[in-house]
Amino acid sequence: MTKATIDRDKLRDIYTRTMRVARADEKFRSLLMTGKLAVIYYTVRGQELVSAAAMAALEPSDYLVTTYRGQHDQIAKGVPLNPLFAEIAGKVGGTCRGKGGSMHITHPETGVMVTTGVVGSGLPIANGLALASQNRGDGKVTMVCFGDGATNIGAFHEAMNMAQLWKLPVIFLCQNNRYGEHTAFADHTKVDSIVTRAKAYGMAGVHVDGNDAIAMYNTTKAAVDRARAGEGPTLVEAMCYRMLGHFFGADFSYMPKEHLAEMAAEDPLPRLRQLMLDHQFTEAELDAIVADLDAQMDAAAEFAANSPLPGPEEIRKDVFEEEIAA
């Protein structure tokens, strides 16, 4: 068997995306811990690499639909940090003028079309974006991210069937972090893996270690290539692990200690660093990337802190195209 390979530039790209996600998450947790920010925050600790490698397989113009726990997806897709930080802080300089918040990030310039707080509801919408691309022939691919818990909602099944029926250029990326809020995978789903469900819809399905950068990238890239070639959708089940509670600060004593320890050994961050070193990147190079990112995080946090709060007049705007009466 030949060893999986990857282009060095792509590897650097994945590393940079992963660390941008990781440093942003770290920054948010520290802002929350020190009381500089008081918002609901769904940490992506443990899932950084999944989206970094997946988004590295997309073009900037491709569409993304994600969920409340989607900050890793958004950052990896390229949403600029300043407005992203400001949006999560509810400031007017945010991507959505503070009217969306972390659960509803939209940033069309980087292809982030919808972030939804309703579990599983992004899949039907992703189909529509993909349908638009199919009719237009614009060659764009749509990726939609969701958790393992989302695969038990009706919208998942309706969307899978429709996507395969119409051979839509869409990729269903299930980030299986083993929990839906407090409920462990085995307590909410009777099949061993989500990917078996692809078969039920006649759809291509692949199971991948989401903490393995090369496998994750190559798997996603193959799905993207298929979709772009008009060969239809793929369900990708990327195994990963939510290393903290459902949202930041939430109790997670229901997660067995032994399992947490076992999963800590799979932590994508040290694993990726080792992979980089194995590929002859130097410690200094890697540290320099992170140092540069940290400067960007500080700047983004400052931008958010200094951005004004939206005024009450914002409530009348964007309900409809025309402003509504007070």
Binding site: V65, V114, S121, G128, A132, Q134
Partner: protein, 330 residues
Amino acid sequence: MSAQITMTQAINRAIDEAMAEDEGVILLGEDVAAKQGGGVFKISAGLTEKYGEHRVRATPISEQAIVGACVGAALAGFRPIAEIMLMNFVTVAMDQIVNHAAKLRFMSGGQTNVPLVIRTTTGVGVGFGGQHSDMLEAWFAHVAGLKIVTPSNAADAQGLMRAAIACNDPVIFIENILCYGLKSDDPGPGHFVPLGKAAIAREGSDCSIVTYGRTVLDALEIAGKLADEGISVEVIDLRTIAPYDEATVTASVEKTGRAVVLHEAVKQYGTGAEIASRLNEKLFGKLKAPVTRIGGAFSAVPMANALEQAWIPNKDAIADAVRTAVNWKG
């Protein structure tokens, strides 16, 4: 006699015109394509032949996926039309309509919008029973971000559909099964009726009946009868239920001093409550009688014709409500 057009033909023509003008207008729904007969009520007959199956897509029975796909396509700049076969089945797609279509413009701070039309049909009087007859406009009227339209005649149906497709916000377009066969003078091609503008369907001076959809026909009939009794009724056809033309309604009721708000949907918590309340706020002291409401009974729509007829707002009761208002002594 001038040429006539039915409501079915009028809606079909409006969609046809919009599809001819803009590649982004697409139609999704159960059975809508030619192979499946052009829709249960034949609204999309002939469109597949002209525009192809990629633009007129017969879907699986998947209401969430239908509306969701339309939301996504709309976000990408299309102007999709979703056909939800009967209004009761919007219940299955509520998440996509209420949480997504209605709110994405706002939640994105105006970066995206959802120019989507959800066509649906309903109506009491055809014996469909409890799960195929509801008027659910009040549910949607309660959600910021949705426009709700219903025509009472064929010409308006054509013009309102053109305007709904051109609208940059999501529109729920409610068609009453019993109105499909109604004929109007043919308004000709390119007919638009602006959203948000009510029509004064009949002028009068003693009492206003504020209504929309099929009950406009009842109101006009009653107005004719009451004229023989010397009571002059003004009939306002809202056409757009939300946001409704408050200026026209207020002006009419200010003139007549009396109002009955009439709709087929159940009276309890209906849109009539909203309109009556607003009239009270605006015209307290100028009203010659309390504003009253007439609506459907507070039960599921019964199947048996005798019961169904008892459920629906009764013409005598509507006429009595007007007489009571006109004779109000305070």
